[in-house]
Symmetry: C2
Subunit: 233 residues, 2 copies
DNA sequence: AAAAATAAGTGTTAATTTGACACGAATTGC
DNA sequence: GCAATTCGTGTCAAATTAACACTTATTTTT
């Protein structure tokens, strides 16, 4: 029943750009390759797509295998397919980027894979075209986070405004005025103030907030700019 | 030298969602399949990736084959890879969306492929998961065009403001106030007013404008929203 | 030749949003 | 109880946005 006889078949892999926030800056989770080619060099976590899997399934499986986490924010980024991007054999790479709460991931799984978190500006060189993938992922993260309340995926359930601001400042490598920042963030009605404070990071303590998950899902697509609200397709 | 012995290899295709603007509404270019499966049904234009081609190369080739056009706006959209999306054999589809000036495409090439332009709201049902692809492409077009001066790719070199407004109204299925629209569009400094008018579409005639291609490339990435201008990565 | 019809082009105002800016409050360590 | 630290908040001026209506140029009709 194979009718497309003459066409070439290719290997297809998934590679994940995994971001985490350590409370100070944005980090990326990399693994040290345990096999040739490029053994010992740093690379993104990836794997081949299995016969019964969609690309999304494969990305979910790979992410779970490395971090132990389910229900992580995961989004297809781009497919890389230069004929010689893998010197062994032509391989398509469908890349995904993931945002995880760094406190939830399971370190022992990462150890199995020789994985390590790197602050983005101290990241080592990666194999193949993985540097390009990371660059694209960072650009997309900046792009989307400017328009959608995405960065909450990097934070624990309860977080403070100063922490949120530090996260934004890290992603955009910029400083914000905290008065304007909190006004803007709170005006979205996405945050619910808690009664308790985080006293670990300052003498005075900063109030915790939680995401209003209902509003979160509704407002995620909130659109900005030129266009009056369009009717759905 | 094939080291990834145990992995499955897959067919990999490119499918193109091709948009054009006929002066009234947004159109999509579809082809009628000349082979089984699904012979006679409507589908996106696509083709298999060849051994020496990147996915971008394949998309460019396929687009040129159907329309005769080079230098078209073409952007990778998403990769679809459900195991059974093609009933004959598992095939990955890397989709691209293209914006073309409908007046420049070469009709005879389209005729070879039994291609036809359809206004989006009169589009027939498509094979496989192509409906889903079109839906995603429309969403992305709306998304990007709200933030970037993208829709000019659909217009001829010289165009009038009323035509531009009709295009936006068609993409967003909404009406705009023409005073606010022209103020906003002109404030970008992307348009250069010409001295001649289009007299075909009204008694009074509307001035032609051209894109300021220098500013166009510079301002394309112009960012909106929450974030003060970040430093480049 | 005057009048009617059509679509283009333009300006004002009020409301909202933004960015710049500084100080008092709470707590801890000395 | 004093000093040091960081949290939390308010004002004002400037810029941006949305709402709104009339005049101009031209062609067609009478």
């Amino acid at each position: 029943m194979t009718k497309y006889q003459k066409q070439t078949r290719l290997l297809a892999a998934v590679d994940c750009i995994i971001f985490g926030f350590d409370g100070h800056e944005l980090n990326i989770l990399l693994i040290q390759r345990g096999f040739e080619p490029e053994r010992g060099k740093w690379s993104l976590m990836g794997g081949f797509i299995q016969p019964d899997e969609s690309p999304d399934d494969a990305a979910t499986r790979i992410l779970k295998g490395l971090t132990g986490l389910d229900g992580v924010y995961l989004e297809q980024l781009h497919t890389f397919g230069r004929p010689n991007r893998d010197p062994i054999e032509r391989t398509l790479s469908i890349t995904y980027f993931a945002l995880i709460d760094i406190q939830r991931y399971e370190k022992q799984l990462s150890d199995e894979y020789h994985a390590e978190w790197f602050p983005l500006h101290k990241m080592p060189n990666l194999i193949f075209d993985h540097n390009e993938m990371v660059k694209m992922a960072r650009e997309k993260l900046r792009y989307k986070a400017a328009l959608h309340p995405l960065l909450f995926e990097l934070l624990p359930e309860k977080f403070t405004l100063p922490l949120l601001q530090t996260l934004y400042e890290s992603v955009y490598d910029t400083q914000f005025d905290k008065r304007n920042f909190s006004r803007k963030v709170l005006s979205t009605n996405l945050l619910i103030k808690q009664n308790d404070k985080d006293k670990d990071n300052s003498r005075k303590g900063a109030y915790y907030y939680k995401l209003d998950t209902k509003n979160y899902k509704t407002n995620f697509q909130a659109f900005l700019s030129i266009i009056p609200i369009p009717r759905p397709l």
